[in-house]
Symmetry: C2
Subunit: 283 residues, 2 copies
């Protein structure tokens, strides 16, 4: 997905939010703002939003020197999500189609996204909404078929806290899972530490993309990750940034997400707030 003009205000908002969480003083915030404005004046037309977001967060890190501004936010998200884990498991246990329900739940967890909004959310309210909501794009059947014919899944994580919802889905998958998190902190994306805190090591092998960047930006990922990605027969990709970077990267990829902003919703041709399981196309 290319960067649309409507993404620009969002980059600025993200820069300011990360600056605030990093404890930037007024001078640092002004420098961050100024450099972000400069960056936006020279964007390559083909850049995806995560590629720009990556640079925005780099500006904040360089200015403030904060290693992980979203650390507390991520810990809190994980804690809140873990508190729901028993209830999520019970929903799955009671369901007539546990795998389909677990897919829904993993998408419900995608609401924990500070890239799209700074607002706190009522997690359980989101769960109750999403388990009843029709899929606006429903490639669940194709995903289920594919799951019967692979020996392993590469599962691309998105945000901390959402990890707990991923765990619920992974525990329903019939094959082993490689769970790929980010190499180092970026926004509220899950790192190895966040995945461990959510208990992912009990149900999956945790690997990293090798990059401190949102989504999967090929020039930034490690050779190891690139090999895993190329060899994978099935990739489950969570959230907007993975969709933005992988929506045309091949039919072995299934993007599970909520369409939380107007740009993504328009690109998917669904209303804002939709839930989506979409098989990627080939470019």
């Amino acid at each position: 997905l290319k960067t649309y003009f409507d993404c620009y205000p969002c980059f600025l908002r993200q820069a300011l939010h990360a600056a605030k969480l990093s404890g930037a003083n007024e001078g640092q915030t002004e420098a961050i703002l100024r450099q972000t404005l400069e960056l936006m004046q020279s964007l390559p037309a083909a850049a995806t939003p995560p590629e720009i977001g990556h640079q925005v967060h780099q500006i904040v890190r360089t200015q403030v020197g904060a290693h992980d501004p979203y650390h507390q936010v991520k810990e809190k998200s994980t804690r809140q999500s873990l508190a729901l884990y028993p209830k999520l498991k019970e929903l799955v246990r009671k369901s007539g189609d546990p795998l389909r329900l677990a897919i829904r739940l993993s998408i419900a967890g995608n609401i924990l996204d500070f890239g799209v909004s700074n607002q706190p959310v009522d997690l359980w309210q989101t769960v109750e909404k999403v388990i009843k909501q029709p899929f606006s794009i429903d490639d669940v059947g194709a995903l289920k078929d594919k799951l019967q014919n692979v020996e392993q899944v590469l599962y691309l994580a998105d945000n901390a806290g959402e990890t707990v919802f991923d765990r619920v889905l992974i525990e329903e998958l019939p094959v082993p899972v490689l769970y790929a998190v980010k190499e180092a902190p970026i926004l509220n994306d899950a790192t190895r530490e966040d995945a461990l805190a959510a208990g992912l090591d009990a149900c999956a092998t945790i690997i990293t993309t090798g990059a401190q960047a949102m989504g999967v930006i090929m020039p930034l990922v490690s050779a190891d990750f690139r090999r895993q990605f190329d060899q994978a027969a099935l990739v489950i990709a969570k959230g907007q940034a993975n969709y933005e970077t992988l929506s045309e990267a091949g039919e072995k990829i299934f993007c599970l997400l909520q369409a939380k902003c107007e740009v993504i919703a328009a690109d998917l041709d669904v209303p804002v707030g939709s839930i989506v399981v979409r098989r990627s196309t080939s470019r």
Copy 2:
């Protein structure tokens, strides 16, 4: 109120929204975006948000040549508000304190603000919320006292549609009213045409600020308006832009508004969504 860093994403969003409503093509939108980014890199520290907004909308007008991008939006807001007029009047009639209720209603109408959000609102739902909501800043008593001791009120309009709610308040005021709208279209602010469509000529003398700008930016208003403003013994100022430009312009001014964005809410030291009747201070 000075322009805070948090206003910057909002300026960009406003530029893009106005560009879209103006029918800007991709090239024009890019030029608008680029010029807005340049503008933001050279903002004087003391500028108020309406002063910057004024320049943003000037950029859009110059690029696209559209005279009034918000024309349709304004007509629709006025139509929707007029449909509620009989119900609003009945609420006032049934009230034990009609003036206080009419003040609340005029603040409820302030939700019709496309400067803060592009989202459509449920007007009646807002009315029902606001008539029960406690004031977060309550200078209603001082305003009522003042109304007993003046011969005329200068009433500064904000948005089209909100005009209908202003009419309900003006019809409860004990003295004649000068109703000041904008000289020419800016955002969805009311012009003379919008005031006439809302029936304001039946209860007030319509004048204009002489400026195609939000709020009251002194270097931009006409000498006529400046005289009326200086001579006024009591000014009722509606909405955020009037608050942003007049919050420290003297105790004869009472700002009636909803605190719709975080910057304004923080400046007022109230939660977002608060309703406020606040007497301005002297600088």
